[in-house]
Each structure stands twice: as structure tokens, then as C-alpha cells.
Symmetry: C2
Subunit: 215 residues, 2 copies
């Protein structure tokens, strides 16, 4: 279909922009409420302590609620809403391209794209990113990788968030990891908690490695 061809062409344009300015780009996806924004808040404040220059494109259907949670961090945040374009359930490469007009890529080391909360469709669209990351929160249960496999197949890392809630849940964290690796044996599995900071060292290390190895 022409729409997909057009979308992939823009993704490649985005990708060469990012390559030219040496910006490491991460597309963060999950179900609604898994904790993408909360994770980004703590991630950005940890990275800034290491003088890493960050920005966020905040993808949503509507509202600026998530951007408002990130702007106090003092980094560039561009809100990209799909509602004016029909309410798409995923961020497209053209919306990312539009957002880039408001960013100075030369001043950045890493760009996070927080996608619309949806464990299905966003996995199908290339935005020009270097890596795709899926957040899976423990309250969702351990079977989601088996039931929504495409997302887990497409991603390079899986953050198992809200580990602080584990004592109150019937979910077995080890089983989550097993199910994730059953769908994708190469995915990096990182349990963490955006609330307590538990597990963030491994996640920050993964990002720093991505920044260092960006051509």
C-alpha cells in the first residue's frame, strides 16, 4: 500500500537526519499506563546528572498531560497529537518529522519518542529510530508477550516496570522474562521501578551504550 511506502520513506529521511546529527533515538511503547512517562522522568534526570543532553517527542492521541509532566525537567519536549489527523492509535513518521522542526538536533545526544499507549499497532511503524523499547508493567500479568507477540518481536529491549508492586501481585517476574524471551530470544530484559529507581542502572547503561555506538 502507498501509505506504508510513504511512511517508510519519511522514516528513512528521519533516520538520516538523526545519523547526520549523531542523535541516538529510542521509540518507547507500551499499553496505556505501563509507566512510559514515569520511566522517562527518572531516566532523564539520571542522564542529565551525567551531562547527557536529552529531548522527548511526546506522542498522544490528545492532551498535553504527559508533556506537562516532563517540561519541568528543563529539556525540550514536543507534544505530537494524532487527533487533528484523525486520531491514529500510533505515532507516524510524518508526525515525528514535523516535531523535528522544533528541535535542535545538534544540541542532543538522545531523543526519546513516547508513543501512544497501544501494545499492537505502534510496533508496525518505523519512525527512523535506532531502537524500539517496550514497557510491560507487572500488574498487566505475565502472558502479554504470548498474546501480543509482534510488539515483543520488534523490540530491542523490554522494561518490566513497577517491580515495587511485586509483593502484592500474583505475577511471577521470572515467568514474565521467560515469556518475553520465548517470543524474542535477543531482547534485553530489564526489570525496574520508575517509582523507586530499582533496576535503573542497567537501563541507563543500555542507553549510554546506544549513544556511544551511534555512528
Amino acid at each position: 500500500r502507498d501509505v506504508l511506502k510513504e511512511s517508510n520513506a519519511r522514516a528513512e529521511e528521519n533516520r538520516s537526519e538523526f545519523k547526520e546529527h549523531r542523535v541516538f533515538v529510542v521509540n518507547v511503547m507500551s499499553s496505556p499506563g505501563s509507566g512510559k512517562t514515569e520511566i522517562l522522568k527518572r531516566t532523564i534526570s539520571d542522564l542529565r546528572k551525567q551531562n547527557i543532553r536529552c529531548a522527548v517527542i511526546e506522542g498522544d492521541i490528545t492532551s498535553t498531560l504527559d508533556s506537562e509532566r516532563l517540561t519541568p525537567l528543563g529539556i525540550p519536549v514536543v507534544q505530537a497529537n494524532t487527533e487533528p489527523f484523525g486520531g491514529d492509535c500510533h505515532i507516524g513518521s510524518h508526525l515525528v518529522q514535523g516535531a523535528l522542526k522544533h528541535l535542535d538536533l545538534d544540541s542532543l545526544d538522545v531523543l526519546f519518542i513516547e508513543n501512544v499507549g497501544n501494545l499492537v499497532c505502534p510496533a508496525e511503524f518505523d519512525l527512523g529510530e535506532d531502537k524500539k523499547v517496550v514497557v510491560l508493567s507487572l500488574p498487566e500479568g505475565s502472558d502479554k508477550p504470548l498474546k501480543y507477540p509482534l510488539m515483543f518481536r520488534e523490540c530491542h529491549a523490554c522494561l518490566a516496570n513497577k517491580t515495587d508492586l511485586a509483593p502484592y501481585l500474583d505475577v511471577n517476574l521470572a515467568e514474565v522474562g521467560v515469556n518475553v524471551n520465548r517470543i524474542n530470544e535477543n531482547i534485553v530484559f530489564i526489570p525496574l521501578s520508575a517509582k523507586t529507581g530499582d533496576g535503573f542502572d542497567a537501563w541507563i547503561e543500555w542507553i549510554l551504550y546506544g549513544i556511544r555506538t551511534k555512528e
Copy 2:
């Protein structure tokens, strides 16, 4: 678009089937892992105690994991997967029509359709149901109605699930209710817990009323 016209035509065919056999049909939607299947398990066992005849069409992209959790209840469960048809992120009226071939509607009072876990696209499609119900679990946070408004606008009832976890979360249940009613002032808001059974009386009552008033 022709696809939508075709889909709505089948939905109307489904609707007249349900009307002819006096079956009350509920389309249950949510994000992945909000607790649709867990809620259906307890709902069906409560209804069977009142000799209500139930069946479930279990919509998923892939796998029979959810049906396997429901079949032990001894009711008809039909698994409808979208993967063979391209992996749609929502159940369509044609899949429901296909599933009806495996059900004896004369032997039923209520039919639940558990949709694919997705807080966006399923809200756009009519299946021929009487009512749409959205499950929102407390761990997802209180802002989801404001960020994913279409689903809450389209639904007749909202089940705020996992209230047993409230003591461990920073989420304010009253705020969830306020946000839900801001988007849809007519929606019935029912806090409950599939784990403990808390709040199920109101939900069962809502279903019985639907069955009684089905023409």
C-alpha cells in the same frame, strides 16, 4: 469507506440475530491486562448461581490462553483470533458473525464478547452488541479517560478494576470516577475487584437489568 459500511452492515445482521433470540450482548474492552478475563470468570460463576445462561466470544490476536481460563466454567466459549486475517487490533463484526455459527443463541440469556486488549481502535467498531463496557484498572493511573477519550465516550459502563491494590498505589479512585464522568456524564462507574469480588453486586445487577429489558 466501503470497509466500514460492510462492517456496519454485518453488525446490523448480528444485532437482529441477537434481538430475534433475545440475547443480551456486552462488548468488553480495555487495555491489555486490565482484567477482562478475570472479571468474566467471576461474573459468569456469579450469574450461573442465578441460573443465567452465559457464553463468551473470546477475541484475541493470537493464542487460546484466555479461552482456556474460561472453558472450565462449563459454558460455551468461542475463540476468535485476528492473526489469520492480518492481526487486526480489534475484533470485527465479521469475526463475531463467524463465531455465532458455533453458538446456540436460543440457549443463552447473555453473550459476552471479550475484545482484543486495546484502549483505542475497538471503540470505533460496532459488533451488533447492546452495550459497550470499558475496564480500567487502578494501576494504569487516573488520567486515561482524558488521554483516550473515544473509548470512554462510546461505553455505557466503566469497571474500575483491581480496587484491592488501591492501598499500594498513588491513584485516587474518586479522581478516576471524576475523569470518567468528565468524558461521559452518562456512563455508569463501578469500582470492583475481580480478585476479591468487591463491587460485583452492582455489576451483576447492571447485567441482570440488561437481560430483563432486552426487548
